[in-house]
């Protein structure tokens, strides 16, 4: 698809020590606090001293005015490799790719990948109104519906064009809720029925309450290092078979109906050396169910426009034929800012290493994780995906 040179495999690099700091609807703590909790959880899980962490990649929306640089001093780290990835829901996959190359090339040995955000009572409104220059100039003044309004338009367009129905989106949400019921700290604790879903209050037509993630505070982290280092530390790890990343793809589509995955999926599968039917667990980015449907299509699980049929003919619970967002995803766990872009990765790592926070999937050898983020104007700009494998 993209042509050019053949990419180097991620030989010898692993990801391990997934950490999820239990989310809270609102927090009086700062983003720094949440990031510190995740980092502390990470070094305890890995059995490392903070001084041994020589690489850090960080993502957060609510860290301002600081960036990753300020966080090093705030938390007493002295990394020799540092990256700040302000890519929202794509941050996890992108952070993983950056960290993997740094380790592979020897620029750093132990890279902590961390995302964390707080959610003060009014921070969501503030994040929306100043999200981007285009949002400030051309989106927020139009009803201030936030991402809900942007995705309402994307969802409506997708329904018009491809015949998806609200019930199809409902099926995705309901399965995720069922998966989340096994997670003690999920934001959403009650089972969701199709009737609940269909009759929930409208937010932005055609989106209703349960199509929308609930903003919350939380943090996620994992470690990227060499496989022999993970073995020496005796922590279970996953291998990285392939990754992709893309920004501002298909800029000429009048309304977004595909993400950057559609541009790069071929390369993802080629690099991984597997086909979609081999994948045991899929963790998509699920800020809205229409994006999930697009990922099924754009990542090659079905063709463009077949998303609705694909949803109708599969089951997405951990015990289903297509285990998907196995801990409930953001739709049931809550959206902890940039940490939402990490949730799929930490969950996939836990499933592949046999330590899920919820129910385990029947088989967990190979997982696909995708990320999506940054509604800069009318569409999500950043997409990414990774294929992970249980270390043999």
């Amino acid at each position: 698809m993209t042509g050019g040179a053949i990419r180097m495999a991620y030989d010898g690099v692993v990801a391990c020590a997934p950490v999820t700091v239990p989310y809270r609807r609102f927090s009086i703590n700062t983003a720094h606090w949440w990031i510190a909790r995740a980092l502390d959880g990470l070094r305890r899980a890995a059995g490392l001293e903070p001084s041994q962490i020589d690489g850090l990649v960080l993502s957060s929306f609510t860290l301002g005015p600081d960036t990753a640089v300020g966080v090093t001093q705030h938390l007493g780290l002295s990394p020799r490799w540092l990256d700040h990835v302000p890519m929202g829901g794509a941050s996890g996959v992108v952070g993983l790719r950056r960290a993997a190359r740094a380790v592979q090339c020897g620029d750093a040995r132990f890279v902590a990948c961390v995302a964390g955000d707080t959610n003060h009572v009014d921070s969501f409104r503030k994040t929306l109104s100043t999200f981007s220059r285009f949002a400030q100039d051309a989106v927020y003044p139009y009803g201030a519906g936030g991402a809900n309004a942007s995705f309402a338009l994307i969802t409506k367009n997708y329904m018009n064009k491809y015949g998806a129905r609200r019930e199809d989106f409902g099926k995705i949400c309901i399965a995720q809720r069922q998966n989340a019921l096994a997670v003690p700290f999920a934001m959403m604790k009650k089972p969701l029925t199709l009737d609940d879903y269909m009759t929930a209050r409208p937010i932005c037509d055609p989106l209703h309450l349960f199509d929308c993630v609930m903003p919350c505070a939380g943090a996620e982290a994992f470690l990227v290092c060499r496989d022999d280092d993970a073995k020496a530390l005796a922590i279970p790890a996953v291998r990285l078979l392939a990754t992709i990343e893309r920004h501002n793809a298909f800029a000429d589509d009048p309304v977004q109906e595909r993400g950057g995955w559609a541009m790069d999926a071929g390369e993802l599968w080629r690099m991984a050396g597997v086909t979609p039917d081999r994948i045991d667990i899929v963790e998509t980015y699920d800020d809205y169910p229409v994006v999930v449907m697009m990922q099924f299509e754009d990542l090659g699980f079905c063709k463009k426009g077949e998303g609705p049929d694909f949803v109708r003919s599969h089951s997405f619970t951990t015990d289903g034929d297509f285990p998907h967002n196995t801990c409930g995803g953001q739709l049931s766990m809550g959206q902890a800012g940039a940490a939402g872009g990490y949730l799929g990765l930490t969950e996939a790592m836990r499933q592949l290493t046999g330590r899920p926070i919820g129910r385990p999937a029947a088989k967990a050898e190979l997982a696909l994780v995708s990320g999506f983020g940054m509604i800069n104007y009318d569409r999500g700009l950043s997409s990414g995906a990774a294929i992970l494998a249980r270390a043999s």
Binding site: R125, Q136, K156, N157, D205, D378
Partner: protein
């Protein structure tokens, strides 16, 4: 079909007046290119000088060829409403109390896809035309209107948030003795204003046009002398809480520059009627208007200044007059900033010589008072901030943007 607006009932004096809120009005510096166009009612987007790409939102370089030459220019306003949504929930206080609110993506024939507010008669799949308006906070926004005018379309709830339509509003014309004030009263009466208060100083002195004025529907003559602080304050005490639009028609036109005049008597009079008159009016009525910017169908909405276009560049034949008008323009800019928090617009209407006795010796083209009045009503219906009426005013505007020095030199004669 737009539901026609119902005439608002008399306000319950015990009810709290809803405080005005504004949509977010912060814009990038580049996006103020839209503000400039919207203020004058032009539909403009950026078009690349080098590759002709039209794009939106505002950018600092062309997204097709990276050229920095990306001016705002008039472009085709037609397009198709690709997809719409009705927003039922918002975190923003202004929109929260105006839910539900419709927006949609419009695919413009000239290229870009834009997010726009939707007129009630613009539906998904329809052909639409886009308009650039100033919203309640004075910031530029795109509105998709039905391709062809529909009945009562100016009554649309969302559209009316962005206009200052006189329909069902109460208007104060400050001076009904002159022909401009009288033309203005007729134009507002015709435009469906609920009441047109017309100020007349020394009402016992008869004046031409008095009878016509009294016969106009909705007109009520009130005592008002802008040179008398007490008179202005008294009227504001009586009518301030039910004045939605003010049109300051007080004029003081005398030919001559600085050297022809001996002493300051005339200059003082000019300043008293025009500049201090504006300040008296603003101080007496402004605070109440600013607090009533969200007071229902007949909320306070606009303060209109009639300004000679020579406020922008002195015309020495009427040099002292031009200087007074320049002072008024500067005060109007200040007032605009001060009334904005209430969602009240300041409309500046620039005109060349009027077809009135004080410009008797000036050759045509001249602006008829009726034409000026029509232009004011139309500008309010469209929600504009700056309009230029007549050929001379248009010419001055155009020349100011090309070579102001040449204009200065040639106005000197």
């Amino acid at each position: 079909m737009t539901e026609p607006l119902a005439r608002p009932k008399r306000k319950n004096p015990l009810r709290r007046t809803r405080q005005p809120l504004l949509p977010q009005s912060v814009r990038s510096r580049t996006a103020h290119g839209l503000t400039a166009a919207a203020a004058q009612g032009r539909f403009e987007l950026q078009r690349c000088v080098d590759c002709a790409a039209v794009f939106y939102p505002p950018r600092d370089a062309c997204p097709r060829c990276l050229s920095p030459r990306v001016p705002f220019v008039p472009v085709d306003d037609r397009g198709t409403l690709a997809v719409e949504t009705t927003i039922h929930a918002s975190t923003d206080p202004y929109f929260r109390e105006r839910m539900p609110w419709r927006v949609g993506l419009v695919r413009l024939d000239c290229g870009p896809v834009v997010l726009a507010h939707l007129h009630g008669d613009a539906r998904e799949g329809d052909r639409v035309r886009l308009d650039l308006k100033l919203d309640k906070g004075g910031a530029p926004v795109l509105v998709a209107l039905p391709a062809k005018d529909t009945p009562h379309m100016t009554d649309d709830r969302q559209l009316r948030e962005m206009t200052c339509d006189p329909k069902f509003r109460r208007v104060l014309i400050t001076d009904g003795r002159n022909s401009v004030g009288q033309a203005m009263a007729k134009a507002f009466s015709d435009a469906g204003a609920a009441i047109v208060f017309v100020g007349v100083a020394d009402a016992w002195k008869p004046f031409a046009g008095q009878e016509m004025l009294r016969k106009l529907a909705g007109v009520e003559i009130v005592p008002l002398d802008l040179t008398d602080t007490e008179s202005v304050t008294e009227l504001a005490e009586q009518n301030g809480a039910r004045t939605d639009i003010i049109v300051n028609t007080a004029e003081h036109v005398r030919p001559g520059g600085i050297l022809q005049r001996h002493g300051l008597t005339v200059a003082r009079e000019e300043m008293d009627v025009r500049y201090f008159g504006l300040m008296r009016l603003a101080q007496a009525f402004g605070p109440a208007m600013r607090s009533r910017g969200a007071d229902g169908v007949n909320s306070a909405t606009a303060f209109v200044n009639l300004l000679s276009v020579y406020a922008l560049m002195n015309w020495p034949a009427y040099g002292a007059y031009s200087a007074t008008e320049a002072a008024c323009l500067s005060a109007a800019q200040c007032l605009r900033a001060e009334l904005r928090p209430g969602g009240v617009k300041v409309l500046n209407v620039f005109f060349g010589p009027l077809d009135t006795e004080w410009f008797q010796t000036v050759p045509p083209p001249k602006v008829a008072p009726e034409a000026l009045a029509r232009a004011v009503v139309q500008a309010l219906q469209r929600g504009l901030e700056d309009v230029f009426v007549g050929d001379i005013a248009e010419e001055v505007r155009a020349r100011l943007s090309v070579n102001p020095k040449a204009l200065e030199r040639e106005l000197a004669g």
